[in-house]
Symmetry: C2
């Protein structure tokens, strides 16, 4: 049996290690889990005993094949529920993450596969993140962060890094969403703010925004 807490740690390690590739250190996990380093050490030992992670003292932690499988499965559930909430229950993209954090732990193969079918096998969630299929496979999304976009080029908005309600509402307020076409007008070296052209308007966004918005060249 795997506990809810173990699942959350595994998910955190997966995301922090860039989808399970790199070794993740204790403080980083403590930070995203909103807990103390000492608690992380204890849990990481347990995950290691249970064969979900590889861990050597002071050397950081990586996921095993099995740990990665668990992580991808939770992410699949999380993102499918997010689609459900937006498509069927009138949630906006800034409201879904919190509820999906809970729904992702419901354990039923049939439930999630039927939900997948009911939603007609979506491949992206409301934030532009890819949804793993039943076998855990998903396409890598080709994208660059707005901060690295080049002046004069035109892009399509394909995702966000920050899924906080505050950030997403800010984007709503500025008429930016998935699919929005954006041309880079100017990058201000002083504070790394960026001037963008949207369909009808021009706006200036801060470095914070520029670091959390993903684009694809068109």
């Amino acid at each position: 049996m795997i506990t809810l807490t173990e699942e959350n740690y595994i998910k955190a390690i997966y995301h922090l290690g860039s989808n399970g590739e790199k070794s993740v250190n204790t403080n980083a996990i403590a930070s995203v889990m909103q807990t103390k380093a000492s608690s992380v050490t204890d849990m990481v030992k347990k995950l290691s005993e249970k064969k979900y992670a590889n861990y050597k003292k002071y050397q950081g932690v990586t996921l095993t094949e099995e740990g990665r499988y668990v992580a991808i499965n939770i992410i699949r559930k999380h993102r499918l529920w997010e689609v459900f909430l937006v498509e069927k229950l009138n949630f906006s993209w800034d409201e879904v993450h919190e509820v999906a954090e809970h729904l992702e732990h419901i354990k039923s193969e049939k439930l999630i596969n039927e939900l997948d079918a009911f939603l007609e096998f979506p491949t992206y969630d409301p934030h532009g993140d890819p949804i793993p299929n039943k076998e855990g496979k998903f396409k890598h999304v080709e994208k660059i962060v707005l901060a690295k976009a080049e002046v004069g080029d035109t892009y399509k908005c394909v995702g966000v890094d920050d899924t906080s309600s505050n950030f997403l509402k800010y984007l709503d307020g500025n008429k930016i969403g998935l699919g929005t076409i954006i041309t880079i007008k100017h990058k201000e070296p002083y504070d790394n703010s960026i001037k963008l052209a949207l369909e009808n308007t021009e706006i200036v966004v801060s470095q914070n925004v520029a670091k959390n918005l993903y684009l694809k060249k068109v």
Copy 2:
């Protein structure tokens, strides 16, 4: 904050006390919670401290107004999720209870009210149990248990008490479901078995079945 375990105890007390009316004793709770009497005593003290229950040593326990509110809310969620699983995700009535036991603990007002609307405000769940509305109100279902039905009378099947997969599959196998019309042919005093007439067939059911099937006179 109310924990998942507290919610389950409150629900058990509600059901055992015939919807929160009668006082419930320790062993009864232990039995449905699959735990020991000593654990129940501890929890019941905690529920009492938290104002969800009234408890005096050796005198059993009842729910407070607030406890009853919590119970009804969980039951509302449980039954709405059961409807969702059957209506939208191709679950059969014997598969839903277990998953609903988990889904009922997801805490989001918006989620459950939108789900209710999405399902077009159903009033009964797949087992014939009434679904409380947003205000916690629901109709009392007029029903008698098959064991008390009278020979010669004709009834409609309106519910089940046991929602175990085994029992529900048994009913499926014998072509009995909600809405099925049943005439009582004979009650056997020796073992309390009952002979029923269905649409095309006659079958004999055991006392166990007779105690778990609810009917309404037509």
